[in-house]
Amino acid sequence: MSRPSLPVRLLRGFGRFWWDLLVGDTPELFVAVVLIVAAVAVVARAGHLNALAVVSLPVLAVAALGVSIARAARRRT
C-alpha cells in the first residue's frame, strides 16, 4: 500500500490531534459537555429561565466531573 500524500497525512494528523484533545481517554467528559450545552440551551433560550441556567451550568459540570472521577476510581481500585 502506497504512503498517503502530505495533505492527507496533515489532515489526518490534525483530526487525530483534536480527537486526542477533546475525546482521548475520557469520552464521557466530551459527551457530558455536549449534553450540558444542550440542556442549558433549552433552559436559557427556550425557557427563558436565566437563574436556573446560571445554577445548572456549573452544577452539571461538577456532576460530570464527579461521574468521570468515580468511573476512574472504580477502574483503579
Binding site: 450540558i36 446560571v54 451550568l57 459540570a61 472521577i69 476510581a73
Partner: protein, 251 residues
C-alpha cells in the same frame, strides 16, 4: 467596571501563565535530555523550529478566529475549555489522591536519554533534532490552544500571547539554571490550578454563548473558580478517604 475587567484579566493571566509554565517544564525536560545526550546544537535547533511552527500556528489561526461572531466563538471555545479543563482537573485530582502516578520529570528525563542512547551514532543529529522538535511542538500545541481560545474569546489575544511568552522565557531561564531539578516543580498543584481556571472560563463562556446573563458579569469568574476549587478539594478528600489514605495537608 474596573473590578470586572481586573477579575477577567487576573483569571486569563493566571490560566495562561500556569498552563504555559507546566507545558514548558515538560518540554524543557526533553530538550535538556537531548542536549546533554546528543549536544546542544541539535536540541536547540529542534526546539527553535518547533517554536517557529507554533508561532506560525498562532499567527495563522489567531486573526481568523477573531473574525468568527463572538457568540458562536464563545460557545465553541467555552465547550472546548470545559472539556479540556475537566480533563486537566480529573487527572490532577486522581494524582493528588494517589490513584494515578504523578508526572515524574526525572523518569521522563531518564526515558528520553535511554531512547536516544539506543540509536546509532550516524543518525544522532537528525534523531536529536526530531526528538527536541516533537517534544516542544507537542507540549506547545496545548499552549497554543489555551492562548488562542482564552485570548480570542476575551479579545485579549495580545495579552495572552505576551503572558505565554513570559512564562516560556521565565521557566526556560529557571529551568536552565536548575538543570536537572525540574522534578521539584509542583507540577500537579499547577495543573490543578490550571484545570480550575480553564473550567471556570469554560463555564463562563459557554453560558455567554448560550445567552445566559451572569450576575456580576465577569466577576462571576472568581466565584466559579472558588466553587471549582472547593469541589476539587472535596473530590480529593473523598478519593483519599475511599482508598484509605491519610490526607495530606498540602497538594
Amino acid at each position: 467596571m474596573a473590578t470586572a475587567v481586573s477579575s477577567s484579566v487576573v483569571v486569563l493571566v493566571g490560566a495562561v501563565f500556569l498552563a504555559c509554565a507546566v507545558e514548558m517544564v515538560e518540554a524543557l525536560t526533553i530538550v535538556l535530555a537531548v542536549g546533554h545526550t546528543r549536544g546542544w546544537r541539535s536540541a536547540l535547533e529542534g526546539a527553535g523550529l518547533a517554536l517557529l511552527a507554533l508561532t506560525a500556528l498562532v499567527a495563522a489561526f489567531g486573526p481568523a478566529l477573531v473574525r468568527v461572531p463572538l457568540t458562536t466563538l464563545r460557545l465553541v471555545v467555552g465547550g472546548v475549555l470545559l472539556i479540556f479543563g475537566m480533563q486537566w482537573l480529573r487527572k490532577a485530582i486522581l494524582r493528588a489522591s494517589g490513584l494515578k502516578a504523578r508526572h515524574d520529570e526525572d523518569a521522563a528525563y531518564r526515558a528520553a536519554v535511554a531512547e536516544l542512547e539506543g540509536v546509532p551514532t550516524s543518525e544522532r543529529d537528525r534523531v536529536a533534532l526530531v526528538m527536541a522538535f516533537k517534544g516542544v511542538f507537542l507540549e506547545g500545541l496545548e499552549v497554543v490552544v489555551t492562548v488562542l481560545t482564552l485570548g480570542t474569546s476575551s479579545h485579549r489575544l495580545g495579552l495572552a500571547a505576551g503572558v505565554a511568552v513570559a512564562a516560556v522565557v521565565l521557566v526556560g531561564l529557571v529551568g536552565v539554571a536548575v538543570a536537572r531539578q525540574l522534578s521539584r516543580v509542583p507540577e500537579n498543584a499547577m495543573k490543578m490550578a490550571v484545570g480550575v481556571l480553564l473550567v471556570s472560563y469554560g463555564t463562563f463562556w459557554t453560558g455567554e454563548g448560550l445567552g445566559v446573563r451572569w450576575p456580576g458579569s465577569d466577576v462571576i469568574l472568581l466565584a466559579l473558580a472558588g466553587l471549582y476549587l472547593v469541589v476539587t478539594w472535596a473530590f480529593v478528600g473523598w478519593l483519599r478517604q475511599r482508598s484509605g489514605r491519610i490526607p495530606e495537608v498540602a497538594a
